[in-house]
């Protein structure tokens, strides 16, 4: 209910549309809406494969958009992710805590700063949908490893596959940060007299690792094929989540203070209680590793642990995972405080939670993804008339509006926002991200832009929409001419007359038809199957065991706070 009260109005206001990546997901979804079984999208990078990004949330948006429209379908899927998170945090916390403490943890997840930051500022739909599915899978993993039982095995496997179909990185790193602590917990609980032998534990672990691995490999087969054939070898692109948050305090605010909020005050409790209670130590260690990596370049830990992946991944998702791993501790602390101090604890806890959530939501306004809000409707209309879409286009100074524009126009661009999907050498050779923001990537970004403009004829690149006069001298000296003005002359259309119409790029990355059919069937099918299998009732014995804490509740309240 709290999730409905807090997040539903914000989503109905379509607040995430201002975030960094929301329009990116809507753009992908719009392609699935029109080309469900053809993942080759010709609108960006002169053509790229959408099999380079797991599709589940975007395919759900495409399905729901037939009723709700793309924007509201996005909000609906995001809302489902938020609701699933509450359930997932409760179920995950129950592995470690009493029902009462787990309830507090679930309630805290509604106000989690990292969740609000990812939803309203970052727009990371995939991460915020995948993690809840993963959290919901972990209790089944626990049940399987501890007691066996094919229902748990099947449910865990299907949910893992669905989580991977939503976001591969969550599953990859979740296996280490979330599943390993759960597996260790199974071993620790075994010491309390349970009849799970080590050989059985090992056999079950191997069985589910192989089965889930095979399921994930099958569900995302075109993704793995694309990754193996065309690994991401492009020059690393700078991202401020890899900054040192002390030397660059503005990014510390963005990637540490806002996502963690009042959780920062809980860090000593997490450390003390997590180390003093043996059962909580795996959780503490999982949290600690995620926390360190989430600090980006503040410590060398992420660089050491991730290697080259550190230069490819963004670090805010690790802070998000660290927050999720911290929630059981938050639930435990809240439970103890409320038990002891009643209303005197409830009020400050509520205020802290509300302020954390409010700050993260408000951050999307204080520190917007795109400082200058403007409409791209006129640009889309211009491209869609008089055969202008026979040529490709490029925008300069449009920020993340290029995804919105791509949704609205039929024309193709040589630019885009999905860096791992691009294959054009003019883009991959340099360490710049989207061409529309070239100037922010220094010499690398500008060299990439020059290279692309030099090869305008090759790609049928005739139109450049400029919203930043910074780029005007380059266009003029390179032979482009202003031919029109849009949006009260704030956008100039530049043209190069000698450019031939755009021809399809004969890219080897284009997936064959059978991959398109798999891509349109298995990931979405895994989502449907996940919904169906969780409806299979648990055996009564297991249901009873879930309702009973694995360890007597007093074991959790032995800390100094209550003593």
């Amino acid at each position: 209910m709290a999730a409905v009260v807090v997040h539903l109005p914000l989503l109905l206001m379509q607040l995430p549309l201002k975030s960094y990546d929301t329009n990116f997901h809507i753009f992908f979804a719009s392609h699935y809406l029109h080309h469900w079984f053809d993942p080759w999208n010709a609108k960006w990078y002169a053509g790229f494969s959408q099999t380079t990004y797991p599709p589940l949330p975007q395919q759900w948006i495409a399905v729901l958009s037939r009723v709700l429209g793309l924007n509201m379908a996005y909000m609906a899927v995001q809302f489902a992710g938020i609701l699933l998170l509450v359930v997932g945090v409760y179920r995950f916390s129950r592995l470690w805590l009493s029902p009462r403490a787990a309830s507090f943890a679930a309630l805290a997840s509604v106000f989690l700063g990292a969740e609000s930051f990812l939803v309203y500022s970052a727009g990371q739909l995939a991460t915020t949908c995948s993690a809840p599915i993963y959290l919901n899978a972990l209790p089944y993993l626990f049940e399987w490893l501890r007691r066996g039982g094919w229902r748990s095995f099947i449910k865990a496997t299907v949910l893992f596959a669905a989580a991977a179909a939503a976001h591969h990185a969550t599953l990859l790193f979740g296996s280490l940060l979330f599943a390993v602590p759960v597996a260790v917990l199974v071993l620790l609980d075994r010491e309390d007299g349970e009849a799970t032998s080590v050989p059985a534990f090992v056999a079950r672990t191997v069985a589910i690792a192989i089965t889930a691995g095979a399921a994930i490999a099958a569900v995302l087969l075109p993704f793995w094929i694309a990754l193996l054939r065309y690994p991401v070898t492009q020059t690393p692109i700078p991202h401020p989540s890899r900054a040192n948050y002390i030397l660059s305090p503005q990014w510390g605010m963005n990637y540490f203070i806002i996502p963690y909020g009042a959780l920062i005050l809980v860090l000593p409790f997490i450390l003390i209680r997590g180390s003093s209670v043996v059962r909580l130590r795996p959780l503490l260690l999982g949290f600690w590793v995620a926390f360190l990596i989430g600090l980006g370049g503040t410590t060398p830990a992420g660089h050491w642990l991730l290697g080259r992946a550190f230069e490819v991944l963004t670090m805010e998702r690790f802070s998000y995972w660290a927050s999720l791993l911290a929630l059981p501790f938050v639930g435990l602390l809240a439970s103890e405080l409320v038990t002891r101090f009643r209303i005197r604890a409830a009020i400050p806890l509520t205020v802290a939670a509300a302020l954390t959530c409010a700050a993260a939501v408000a951050w999307s306004t204080f520190h917007p993804a795109d400082a200058s809000d403007f409409k791209v409707d006129s640009v889309a209309a211009w491209l869609n008339r008089d055969g202008h879409d026979d040529f490709r286009y490029l925008t300069l100074g449009f920020g993340n509006k290029i995804s919105r524009l791509a949704v609205m126009t039929d024309a193709g661009s040589v630019d885009g926002e999905w860096n791992s999907g691009r294959r054009l050498p003019e883009l991959n050779r340099y360490g710049g991200a989207a061409l529309t923001s070239s100037k922010y990537f220094g010499i690398d970004g500008l060299q990439s832009l020059r290279a692309m403009l030099m090869h305008a004829n090759r790609y049928g690149l005739r139109w450049v929409f400029v919203r930043d006069p910074y780029y005007d001298p380059l266009l003029d000296f390179a032979g482009w001419r202003p031919v029109d003005h849009l949006n009260d002359r704030t956008i100039t259309v530049w043209s190069k007359d000698s450019v031939p119409p755009a021809a399809p790029v004969n890219a080897p990355q284009r997936p064959p038809r059978w991959q398109g059919i798999l891509w349109g069937t298995l990931p979405f099918g895994s989502g449907i199957l996940a919904i169906l299998v969780v409806l299979i009732p648990e055996k009564r014995r297991r249901a009873a065991s879930v309702d009973t804490p694995s360890v007597p509740e007093e074991s959790f309240v032995s800390g100094g706070l209550v003593a």
């Binding site: 690393p236 700078p238 991202h239 401020p240 890899r242 900054a243 040192n244 002390i246 030397l247 660059s248 450390l271 003390i272 997590g274 180390s275 003093s276 209670v277 043996v278 130590r281 503490l284 600690w288 360190l292 600090l295 980006g296 370049g297 503040t298 410590t299 060398p300 830990a301 660089h303 550190f310 230069e311 008089d386 100037k439 220094g442 010499i443 500008l446 020059r450 403009l453 030099m454 305008a456 004829n457 090759r458 006069p469 910074y470 780029y471 005007d472 001298p473 380059l474 003029d476 000296f477 032979g479 001419r481 202003p482 031919v483 029109d484 100039t492 259309v493 043209s495 007359d497 000698s498």
Partner: protein, 373 residues
């Protein structure tokens, strides 16, 4: 006891990692911090200049100006204008990408240092050198910034009398690319491919043979012996795109990683569109001088004879041998605005291996101002 040890270990390791990450930042973190670490104090001349360079790179103008020994001699805006230009120019939006510091001389209370600044501008990188004097104050070194004040032209009226061509389209609904008239007649009057280590370069000259101005481009396609196209490239910014009647422009087209021995023939495709144009601004080349090897270059001065400030200028020079054959084409963007009747130096380098062949040269200037659209 074990729990306390674990907590202590995690806390200590976290603090140690944070301290290490802050005192010795990893490259990606250092880039966002502008190369600035907590440790560096200006205890040496090099450190003082490096701090200044970092502040300029981060555009922390107030901090940079405050750190100067001679800040009383000029204001902060004057300091900023010295670096970013007094008028709209390439410098206005350029960002310092990198810098190097070369110690020249050091004594107990003074030092001289050469600072090379590498700027990233929209048309490409440009370099600038400043010789800095530093003074010692206690255990700190402070930079004396050699401010270059821009000359100001006295108020005056400059009469202009220049040719101008306007194009009238069919009507207000006329489309962007539709031309009612035949394209201006242009032709390539000279063309020569040369082979270099970087690849093949196609040099040439294009003449506007018409009586109306033209917007021109040239593309070249290298064709192999089997008739297949090896590569097709355009002149990009190594050409004057806006050509007045009877005006000639040089052009240079690069084909990286191609050897001339692979090429059977070269197909040239000049294109021209009718455009509005004017002969203004008139740029005069003064004191042009070819400096032979070593360090061969063409130096001279640009002087605007018109009354407007020219924000962006691109100098293109064509070099010929004694037979009048094309030897090389090179260019330089001016980083500062060209003020009326105020000469500005330019210097265009010539490759050492070609320098000996140069007998004469011709220089043209392309200009762009925001209001010229």
């Amino acid at each position: 006891m074990k729990g306390a040890l674990l907590a202590l270990f995690i806390a200590a390791a976290t603090v140690a990692l944070i301290v290490d990450g802050t005192l010795r930042p990893i490259p990606s973190a250092l880039a966002y911090a502008g190369g600035e670490t907590l440790l560096r104090t200006p205890s040496t001349p090099e450190a003082a200049v490096e701090n200044l360079g970092d502040q300029i790179r981060l555009q922390q103008w107030q901090k940079a100006w405050s750190s100067l020994a001679n800040k009383a001699q000029f204001t902060e805006p004057e300091f900023v204008h010295d670096l970013t230009g007094y008028f709209l120019s390439l410098r206005t939006y350029a960002m310092l990408d990198n810098f190097e510091v070369f110690p020249l001389h050091e004594s107990a209370d003074g030092a001289d240092v050469l600072m090379k600044l590498y700027w990233a501008s929209v048309v490409g990188p440009f370099e600038e050198s400043r010789q800095l004097h530093l003074v010692r104050q206690g255990d700190r070194w402070l930079v004396e910034w050699p401010l270059v004040k821009e000359r100001h032209v006295p108020p005056q009226v400059i009469p202009v009398d220049y040719m101008r061509w306007d194009v009238i389209n069919r009507g207000p609904g006329d489309d962007w690319g539709a031309q009612n008239v035949a394209a201006p007649h242009v032709r390539i009057v000279d063309m020569r491919p040369i082979n270099r280590a970087e690849g093949v370069f196609v040099l040439g000259e294009l003449l506007n043979d018409d009586v109306v101005p033209a917007w021109v481009s040239v593309r070249a396609t290298l064709v192999a012996k089997n008739g297949a196209a090896i590569a097709s490239e355009g002149s990009f910014d190594m050409i004057l795109h806006r050509l007045l009647p009877k005006q000639v422009t040089p052009f240079l087209i690069r084909f990286p990683n191609v050897d001339l021995s692979q090429v059977d023939k070269i197909r040239m495709d000049p294109s021209a569109e009718l455009v509005s144009a004017s002969a203004d601004p008139v740029i005069e080349i003064q004191n042009q001088k070819y400096n032979p090897a070593p360090d061969a270059s063409l130096t001279g001065q640009l002087s605007s004879q018109s009354g407007e400030v020219i924000g962006f200028a691109h100098v293109l020079s064509t070099f010929y041998d004694r037979n009048g054959q094309l030897v090389w084409i090179a260019g330089q963007y001016m980083s500062r605005a060209l003020l009326p009747q105020t000469p500005m130096d330019f210097r265009i380098s010539v490759p050492q291996d070609l320098a000996g062949q140069v007998s004469s040269e011709r220089t043209e200037v392309a200009t762009f101002s925001e209001d010229s659209e």
